[in-house]
Symmetry: C2
Subunit: 563 residues, 2 copies
């Protein structure tokens, strides 16, 4: 077989990364990164609305052009590379990041009328404005379609497709009415690359559809119109624009158009794989397999497992989704996650910056935190600064820290914040195990996994597991490239592709016996706080405390006396 | 009557203040301050033992000399003043701050053997090392002498006399055995001034004895030997060195010695009033009377009320003491307080210093906090960074903050810390009221009351009360001077003395109707957290969480695996 390359395109929260990968070895031979130009680090915010997070789709197009050009440029410095060697392209994006498009498949934000309207842009995964709408969908499903909920952890999240569409319908009906349909970003990029002009022809990926859109072949695809109409007739109308079938990443979404081929100096007709969410393709790039928990550790956290489809799998409360083919074709994909991980450490450094610009850096705080023994500070936190995705599926939760004395130091708080995220990670792992999904291996990728030994050692100690850090710095883009290679027919199946192209192990963090005992005790306390604040069942519990404070805050900001 | 002056000596946590006051008008005509030389701001700490806080008694003598010399020097610039005009001297100190003394009344710390031994120094009020010993005393009293507890809020505090003596007995028996007796600082200073060499002759003040030493005429003074022996025979031995009677501040402890008179250029034989605790004499200086709550707001907080002795008064759970003559002769004195107030704001500024030395100041944070509406931040805290004195009487509690998001700012946290202390203040006021002590007026003194309008307005809004700030910057020393004037016979009674010498009102903070409603709601949430973490009764409560974390921390620091 001749030498071949695959391209992976990874549309992240703040930037696009393109990689050119050797389709035989998985070696990255070219990389390009482009930071989004709009808003704050690519995120469009609105003052007084901390839950809002949007992106301008123009950034995606510009980012695609610039990052891939740079990646190909770098690859061209490699002797073995030639543009003709590119056999396939794969795409991953954040999600659920849906955007409203017109009948020609153009984002509404590209029209002069809507170019400055955040409601007409892409609704970024971390946008939580639709919390009331999500609640409304959860209640309707609980009443009418309980099965829908069982596959998405029991609660529909404000981060997901239908909650965002419903929120737009309610607060910006003119935008909603102007849209022909809504498309997930991971479906829209392949449509752009393959020149799929009609929204009816856009191939929807089962990954986003299943994990975020309540799509499941078991009940015939997306939720039925009757159910959606019971929430709002507008949603039923939106449903009519969605196809009946969605595809896994072994499928091709189409061929690269000659215009794009010319633009990049590539051959036209290169297959473009059906798109998927970044975490899910990151799990693929990191070598996911039954029994392996893949943790993607960045600003937020994603925890992925797969399970053979010939084995029975229970519904797991709190998981974001159990989707056939959602991660790896032929397996159930199971997704969990933490709404904030590195974002919490970044908040402490950037917003609190204890001691100022020199003392308050990650480096300085890490040095201080390394010198503190587990349990020594007396501090314990809840890692809910951006809500809780798994296992509580509740965005109306917030951060907590307790145990402060007049002697508490910034380094102690920094360590407690790291520990709180690791307790959250253990909570997720234990949930998988409680429902029969044995976690035999833990593999980690993402910026934190590769760059932060303290965070990783604390995770190994608290989870009491070896954690294998994968070698690739771009495992999402690598996963996308692998999908591109499979869609191009370079490999029979993902198993074969992963054996050749999947990321190897760079480092293993091993739990320190001196720490695991103390952390077991602290985790027991974390679990109690978790339940008292997070679950309705507790007597004298504080389930509504964080929610009440958020409601009061919102009412005050809107000038309404909270009663 | 000829012009007269009175001297007030105020031995605070970090410094001594002396004032010379016009005994007719209360006008301060001379002030002197001396900062203690030992330790950190006068407090001797021990690394790895955050609960320990001691003071070297040499600082008291040096502070007495320097501050009074300066005060007299300043007063001498006043035409009307002459050294002969000084009619009386009063003394207040922190407390319970007991020190072990030998049979000559000398502090053990003055001997070469013990001069560097913190256990032989004064055990400062905020020393919490005796928490287990306090618990032991509480349990013994609950079993054998329940009445003892009823008058001190139901729980004996580690900050108090017997807990400290017992702690010393257990951890430094050689020090305990070398001591002839233990004397409260507020009793020791008058003994020094009046040359009372034999410890048997030291007049003990009912203020410290009653509020901190379980002294009550109802059961014949200090606790009986049998009870103390049931805890430890050493305590019974200590009891035998204590007198049967204690005196209120209208009594004289004796006359100024000729040595001291010569040293200061005063007439010998000036009456020195029996000493009392600083908060209590601060309440006197601020014009305490039945129906008036006096708040002393500094690094920690003291909340004082008095009640006529001809009226029945119930036992109030959680109060530090109900003592006949404890504050004002002829009235029951009721003491409550907050273990940390300004100390919490100082911790945030000094230890966290968000944004560095310029952004992280009180001034900058106050500016930011002023712009935040009540309820807007979504934050809520528990003000227990130094434990909870009233109403839970539990030093094994710690600080808590919840509601953090990725958008939380330092100014929001600063405001939430201030609000948490004001919720704590309201909790105390409501406790007084629940037990029939109507709070008709609130008067405030101390550094925070006079210097921090934001803190005071938040207190007025949260307590929903007008707060009158007294004019004197030295209300404790003023109260001491008033006691000196009364002890000298300058006035028949404190009522007369206060009418002439008591501090006037400088400013009144009035609750803002726009804020009280939101704060009522937040206070309800604070109350729930208060009970869930602070009381044993709650089902699924978190009563042991903060205590467990402290125990784990202590075990880890001592190198013991916590199990």
């Amino acid at each position: 077989m001749s030498r071949g390359c695959a391209i992976g395109l990874d549309f992240g929260t703040n930037s696009v990364r393109a990689v050119v990968v050797d389709a035989d070895s998985g070696e990255e031979i070219g990389t390009g990164v482009w930071n989004y130009a709009h808003g704050e680090d690519g995120i469009i915010l609105k003052s007084g609305q901390p839950l809002l997070a949007r992106q301008h789709p123009a950034d995606y197009i510009e980012g695609l052009k610039c990052s891939l050009k740079d990646a190909l440029q770098e690859a061209s410095g490699c002797d073995a590379f030639s543009p003709d060697a590119v056999v396939g392209i794969g795409v991953d994006t954040t999600g659920s990041t849906p955007l409203p498009v017109d009948s020609g498949g153009e984002p509404l934000a590209f029209s002069p009328e809507y170019c400055d309207n955040p409601d007409a842009m892409a609704w970024l995964w971390k946008d939580h404005t639709g919390y009331a709408e999500a609640d409304c969908i959860t209640r309707a499903a609980r009443r009418l379609r309980p099965d829908f909920l069982k596959k998405c952890g029991g609660v529909y999240s404000p981060e997901w497709f239908w909650a965002k569409a419903l929120r737009c319908l309610r607060v910006a009906p003119e935008v909603f009415d102007s849209a022909f349909t809504w498309v997930e970003l991971c479906d829209w990029i392949p449509a752009v690359l393959t020149g799929t002009a009609s929204p009816d022809d856009i191939k929807r990926g089962v990954c986003a559809a299943g994990h975020k859109g309540m799509y499941n072949p078991q009940w015939g695809g997306y939720p039925d119109e009757e159910f959606l109409a019971s929430i709002d007739p507008g949603l039923a109308q939106l449903r009519r624009t969605l196809p009946d079938a969605a595809y896994d990443i072994s499928s091709s979404a189409g061929m690269l158009t000659s215009e794009w081929a010319r633009h990049f100096g590539l051959a036209p007709g290169i297959p473009v794989a059906v798109g998927a969410l970044d975490g899910h393709l990151g799990a693929v790039g990191s070598g996911i397999a039954p029994g392996t928990l893949v943790k993607i550790m960045g600003t937020s956290g994603c925890d992925m497992m797969v399970s053979r489809m010939d084995e029975d799998i229970p519904d797991v409360p709190g998981l974001c989704g159990i989707v056939p083919g959602g991660i790896l074709p032929g397996c159930f994909g199971l997704e969990a996650g933490q709404s904030a991980l590195g974002d919490i450490y970044n908040w402490f450094v950037n917003s609190l910056q204890p001691g100022g610009p020199e003392a308050g850096t990650h480096q300085a705080l890490t040095r201080g935190a390394e010198a503190i023994l587990p349990g020594e500070s007396g501090l314990l936190g809840l890692d809910w600064h951006n809500g809780n995705r798994t296992v509580l599926v509740d965005q109306r939760l917030s951060g907590l820290l307790l145990g402060m004395t007049l002697h508490t130091t910034p380094a102690q708080i920094y360590r407690a914040l790291i520990e709180s995220t690791a307790f959250g990670a253990r909570m997720i792992m234990e949930r998988f195990q409680q429902y029969g999904l044995d976690v035999e291996r833990v593999r980690a990728c993402g910026g934190i996994a590769r760059k932060n030994p303290l965070v990783m050692q604390i995770h190994a100690d608290i989870m009491n597991r070896e954690i294998e850090v994968v070698r690739s710095s771009e495992s999402c883009a690598l996963g996308a490239a692998i999908a591109g290679a499979v869609a191009a027919g370079r490999y029979e199946c993902f198993g074969d592709a992963l054996a050749r192209m999947g990321a190897t192990t760079e480092h293993v963090y091993r739990p320190d016996d001196a720490n695991t005992g103390v952390y077991d005790r602290l985790f027991a306390i974390y679990s109690r706080l978790h339940d008292v604040y997070g679950r309705k069942g507790c007597r004298d519990g504080l389930y509504d405390v964080m929610k009440d404070l958020l409601s009061i805050s919102e009412a005050v900001k809107e000038g309404i006396a909270p009663l």
